[in-house]
Symmetry: C2
Subunit: 402 residues, 2 copies
Amino acid sequence: MTELHLRQPSAPDARDAVRTLRPSQIREVANAGLGIENVLPFWFGESDRVTPQFIRDAARAALDDGATFYTHNLGIAPLREALAGYVSTLHGATSAGHVAVTSAGVNALMLAAQLVVGAGDRVVAVTPLWPNLVEIPKILGAHVDTVALDYGAHGWTLDLERLLASLTPDTKLLMINSPNNPTGWVMTREQQRAVLEHCRRHGIWIVADEVYERLYYADNTNGARTAPSFLDLATRDERVICVNSFSKAWLMTGWRLGWIVAPAALMDDLGKLVEYNTSCAPSFVQQAGVAAIGQGEAFTRQLVADLHASRDHLVRALSSIAGVDVKAPAGAMYLFFSLPGATQSLELCKALVREAGLGLAPGSAFGPEGEGFVRWCYACDTARLDAGVERLRRYLAEPGRR
Amino acid sequence: MTELHLRQPSAPDARDAVRTLRPSQIREVANAGLGIENVLPFWFGESDRVTPQFIRDAARAALDDGATFYTHNLGIAPLREALAGYVSTLHGATSAGHVAVTSAGVNALMLAAQLVVGAGDRVVAVTPLWPNLVEIPKILGAHVDTVALDYGAHGWTLDLERLLASLTPDTKLLMINSPNNPTGWVMTREQQRAVLEHCRRHGIWIVADEVYERLYYADNTNGARTAPSFLDLATRDERVICVNSFSKAWLMTGWRLGWIVAPAALMDDLGKLVEYNTSCAPSFVQQAGVAAIGQGEAFTRQLVADLHASRDHLVRALSSIAGVDVKAPAGAMYLFFSLPGATQSLELCKALVREAGLGLAPGSAFGPEGEGFVRWCYACDTARLDAGVERLRRYLAEPGRR
């Protein structure tokens, strides 16, 4: 046995590409609040409401029925059919052969990235952005360049020419998230058209993270309109992969269920990648997804109306605090705003949770372009928002805060 | 709009590394049986029994309780604690800080591979082997060399010296699955010790896929013994990552729940990878896992006893067919045996499903070393096994089959 200990190799470490992935600054803030009682958390991208009963009932019924076996890699046929119908209604004819079920929206992004990028490939992403889109290609050895949104009198806007200039012919993939987490920015139809034309010209793939497409408030009083989507412009068989999720529009964050719309010619390869990543989403979870699509439209429209009201309520309340600069974005479920002290947003957010019991996400968690801002998820009732605003107001009113 | 159509780039394709991944030959056989009535399927690695009621009840209760939110990347604390206790009982002291919950066993393998291998790295795998271990590193750009088991009078055996010789100092990772799918081969304690010593000497990582560890029949009449595990020999903080799953020992294939035991120093990086792959396993699925670990021991032991009996029953029945060469392996839930016509196992299995209504997996699905064999999953009752054996007997009795 002594031979076992003759050598002392260095301590085990993950490879460099993994060690240099960004850890979550949101979790760092949450950790700073451990032990603090009665924190009001607005830091995660998640409603405080449980999944609707009819969806939970569908999962229970599937469990009773014994839906506890493997499914097809690309998902159960009823869910693929339901999703094809749903996408067709929103964005034009789409067959089940263009749809794959995934183990969460983020899993869909990982699969999409695995499909098209490998070591050394160049990827472009528009930022600020939730970290996952920027970090996923790095796990595969790709290089990610970012194009920053601008912040001004109209909130967050895209300099289209700058984005197009960055999409050089050697670029493999553009990853774009609209409506955007964290800013709420929504890409316009005209911008999408110009980007699609440009990417077609150069054979550049587009992975569009459209999980917030239903959470869209411009000219959308009844929740029936979706944000502009690449699916509205692209054919179903070109280099466009759209990623979506049940998490936001049906309050199913903890279910880890998403989907991909992609060229039918890619489905065999996508099925292999699903096999080698998770093999399939849980069987009864997929059955719950069928219920969400089939019976959930009224729920989603009411949810969007509620979020719209929460957004406006929070913008009004925050605007009443001196030094806070906040604008109402057209989509998603966040306000991404500046306030005194936010130029060091991570330190500010740690102080807010420790000293005020207020849980916000630091802007720097979403890339260097996010520094100077904080993210507030408003997917909760207005009383809770009001309580949070009061904590912020009191914190900022203390001497030396401005 | 005409500009949109000026150029016709080539049709969209996945990247080469993905297009060259192996598709499932089992699915190819299953597709050959589409439209055939009353096929008896023994091709998938899955019991025909539904998940035990107490586990389904736990998921239902969690859904009722509103467990529909995101969880910690590494899993809910009660499940990590339960798994730490379970692993400690089987393999010696293991803390929750060494345990991560994953979205299936295969997802655990993908995460483990992402932790340690990137483009250009050399990986060694022992074959025949279910395809996932060999294909996963290729998605990450790694190169996989295989070392074949030998088949002889004692069934499948490992030439240890040949494996050690293949583990050159430039090797990054050894992936090994014991008890093995498809052969049922079980690595001996002495072989594990020699491999561990060798890998320590050269700083080579070991990823051990031990999802069949409970399905072990040697000197194990009460189902209490597990197969030899690298966890029995390794410290918890060296280059050994053990992967496990709820699929086999608790009949939870369709739940997609697994776990990893790994050095505590890797857990922060592993948490990042979980975030960027699936973020977490579904919340109520994890609660069901707590019930499986906490209340499932008697169930698992009975299951192992049943499988043991099914194995022996099927070996006896198949041995009565002339030309069939079958041996009882020490682990897993498959017989991997040779029979007339199996030198073209894919064609044979297609013919068996079309002409005899018998669904077996072709040996070539598990690598070229598997050619000449077929895999039969015996995780079902003996009446069904008998019906399948009769179909095989009748098929082989037809003129010209030998």
